[in-house]
């Protein structure tokens, strides 16, 4: 009898104490679809291809180093010559299902063109939809918001190499 009473009056309040303690604390979970967590600065999410700020030209010159560095072999590209005689990527595809988000492509890129962004919501109902083409990856121009990237090597299109 005493044992039962002890459980009711001591053990339950002790247990509920933890509940009550957390009941008034700020919740750790968030209301996901409505509210989104900010990602850590070094989070590696969906890729995007950058542009030059002054004229919106694509930075990618289709050198193939990202594809060469990629351990998952998920990048495919085909180069071509544009009307100015410059090299650009006619086809640039990343298979996001294969990608392991290691960030090597970002590291290999000599033109500071490809980056791994903060985007993580790109689930889909079909495998084919995970092949992201150049149109999907390029940042929109004109920009809707300023670029999150601080470019260190090339801020302008080179006039001299």
């Amino acid at each position: 009898m005493f044992k039962v009473l002890k459980e009711v009056f001591i053990a339950i309040p002790v247990g509920l104490y933890t509940t009550l303690k957390n009941f008034f604390r700020k919740p750790v979970t968030i209301q996901y679809p409505r509210i989104k967590t900010p990602m850590y600065p070094r989070y590696r999410g969906l890729h995007f291809l950058e542009r030059y700020d002054h004229d919106g030209a694509e930075r990618c010159v289709c050198c193939g180093l990202c594809a060469a560095a990629c351990p998952a072999d998920c990048i495919y590209m085909e180069g071509a010559e544009n009307e100015k005689g410059e090299r650009y990527a006619k086809i640039y595809e990343i298979n996001e299902l294969r990608c392991i988000f290691c960030g090597y492509c970002e590291e290999a890129c000599p033109e500071e063109a490809i980056f791994l962004g903060k985007e993580y919501e790109f689930s889909s109902d079909h495998r084919d939809k995970f092949i992201y083409t150049k149109e999907d990856l390029l940042v929109p121009w004109p920009r809707k918001k300023p670029s999150p990237i601080k470019f260190i090597r090339k801020t302008k299109r080179p006039d001299v190499y």
């Binding site: 010159v61 050198c63 085909e78 071509a80 100015k84 001299v160 190499y161």
Partner: protein
Amino acid sequence: MDKIKLKIDGREIQTEKGKTVLEAALENGIDIPVFCYHPCLKSIGACRICLVEIASPRGDQIVPWPKLAVSCATAATEGMEVQTHSEKVVKARQGVLEFILANHPLDCPTCDKGGECPLQDTTFKYGLDFSRFEERKRRFITDENSTFDDLQIGPEVIRNQNRCIHCYRCTRLVQERFFEQDLGHYQRGAFTEILPPPGGEIRNLYSGNVVEYCPVGALTNRDWRYKVRVWKTEEIPTICRYCSDGCNLHVSVFRNKIYRIQANTNWSIDEGLPCDIGRYGYQFAHHDDRLTRPMIRKDDELVECSWNEALTVIKNKIDQTVKSLGSSGVACLVGESLSNEDYYTIGRFFRSVIGTNSIDHRIYRKKKLSFGEDVVKRELCWNKLDIADLEKADQFFILGSDLHAENPITALRVLKAKRFSDARIMLLNPRPTHLNRAADEEHIYSAYSEVFLLQGLVRLIVEKKMYDPDKANIKDDEAKAFLKETADFDFKTVSEKTGIAPVDLETIARSLCEAENTIFISGENVRIHYQRDPILISLYNLAKLTGNLNGDASGILMLGGESNSKGCYLFGMRPDRLPYDKPFEQAEELKSSWGEIATDKPGYDTIDILQKINDEKIECGFLLGLDAADHYPDSEYINNTLSKLDFMVVADLFLTDTARLADVVLPISSHFESDGTFVNWEGVLQKFSKSIKNIGESMPLWEIFSKLSTMFDADFNFKTADDIFRHFAPMLGQESVSRMAAIPKDGLRSEKKIDYPDLGLMAVKYRKPSHEDLPLTALSGNGDHHFSRNFSTRCESLNNFLADPYIAINDKLAEDMTISEGDLIKLENSSGKIVAKALIWQNLPEDVVFVPDNFIEVKVSMIRSKDNDIDKVKMVKM
């Protein structure tokens, strides 16, 4: 050769006297970086990257040289001690690289050379990882609006002068080896520019090589430009399918598509300098015109069908024909650029399964030749010299051959002999050819007077006793008899008939007698000549008289033909020969593996086959890898004849004019899509490998006939090309080679070399050609950057050099008829007419017109007639 000993990096090395330190090191696998050095060229020591530290013996001491020396221009001497990677050397190399990179742009990501760039590799190995130069880099601006300073300097070459490191490989290749003047260096010092001459562009036949051998990305290729990175591609060895030189090539393949072709150096054949036709001539493989499915004629229209259906129809028709006409009712004509495996399978199928011997490849001939069983005459077609032997000769007598267009790589060896050992080149042709850029003498004789010319020269030498009696081995009475027999070939008549001045004839004769080693080269003009045999016999006489019959670096070469003309003949594509050139008497061996073969009588050759088709004795015809309607020199006759065939099977890559007449069209794969072997004109058997998957449902011919054989209850069981090679390998006579993989990298050289027997002087007769009574003689040959038909004109890059057919005429003739360049003109005779743009050639003889026969739109066979020896035409301005 004298041998000398020296030490490189502490290693005792033996090398030949006269070699440079660099060559001695490279031979022994010691790596020294180079930019300007190339084994095909003389050293100039321009780049200074190959610096080494040298010490050489003086008295009994070994004294170090005061300065570092360039190893590419320093001769190796006895007792030398060389350090190639000492601290001093590495530091000097670093310095050289720093200066080279001072002006070299860092645009490797966009440069096509990136990944296979010697400068990149060397910098990675020796260079500093930073630059001390803060100054702006030198820039050659070609277009103010573009950041790319690229300039197209030729149909296929793009130059970026910013990247140039002034090694002069390109201009040296062009000027030293190719004897061309369409690329040079202008200005001076750091501002030296590589440019074609004012108003010109680089468009020589070997222009692709300057791109390949540029050690940086200063010269890049338009075809390969930006398409794919080099490390993505796989390099697969192959053999060129065009001329009979047999260049070794590398195919760069990425995702089952060929992106380019580069040299795969074979020092005994191509020296790593293939011509543009081989380099860009791969594009037909991916052309939209390629046949992908078999086609069958239904209600007068070709419709696509399955392989099974097509083969069943063929099987039924063959059975039907054999029942009604016997096996002789089936005949087969083959093209000359199929693989040996194809020929072997075709031969086995027709001879053992069907039992007919009517197989032939000589579609280019109008009439039968007197070519008999005589050993000498047969052997004249066997070229006993190797391409490398040409270097040793000191005179070339080139007769009736546009060597530059027919065998570009042989021509390159001739030029090499001229450059490095000052050989004389004598050109005798009915029309000017491009080899005249290097010729010491060029004579243009009136067309079809070769017999007069040669016999005249022989007679002149005999008459004036110019020959060396020891070398010539001719008795006086023999000479007298010859003079008597050839009385109507006297000096004056010959000069009159050939149009060559008497003085020139005498100079030719004299220099032929004086030179130590002369090589006589004849080509396509002689191969299809109505009097080929007399010409060859006269050449034999000439070679014998001048003591050039059986030398190491002298003899007679009969060139021309296509990539596997020789293999075609060797593997029994003649009515009277079995594989490996065996006569019917030696068929026993073959019977053990093939089963029963009809060897009682030879089959029909091309001319007979066509005749028998007209007589309705042959009802079932196979045309394999051959556009007969275009190749046979009388298009009306062949079209009429072929349409009389009850059943015609055409196997080809494209829907050619012949294929349009066919009942069944089979798509065959190109040589890129199958393993196989070719035999070049030297008799070297070389293998090529499958580089891409078959296009569509196409199959190589051996596979088709192997499949067909199963339907006839005679399963060949050939699953791969290697299976076939194993079958015929014992016939090659070299025990070590029993599989395709065992073929050496340099090719399988047959050791069979028979000397010409001495048959004395043989007088030949001149036969007056039959022709129409019209003013102009039509000659044909290969146009610039084209070879043969159907293939080169389907290559976009080659069309960039020459896209449109033309008719070349003399300038006086053009003036008389008020024709200016580009006007449409018509050539006409009783056989037909052709229309093309006029092109004016100044030194073309007045009574000759030249038409390139590579173009599908302008068929030269339209103005040819099998009844006439010579095709005469009249010209009308449109």
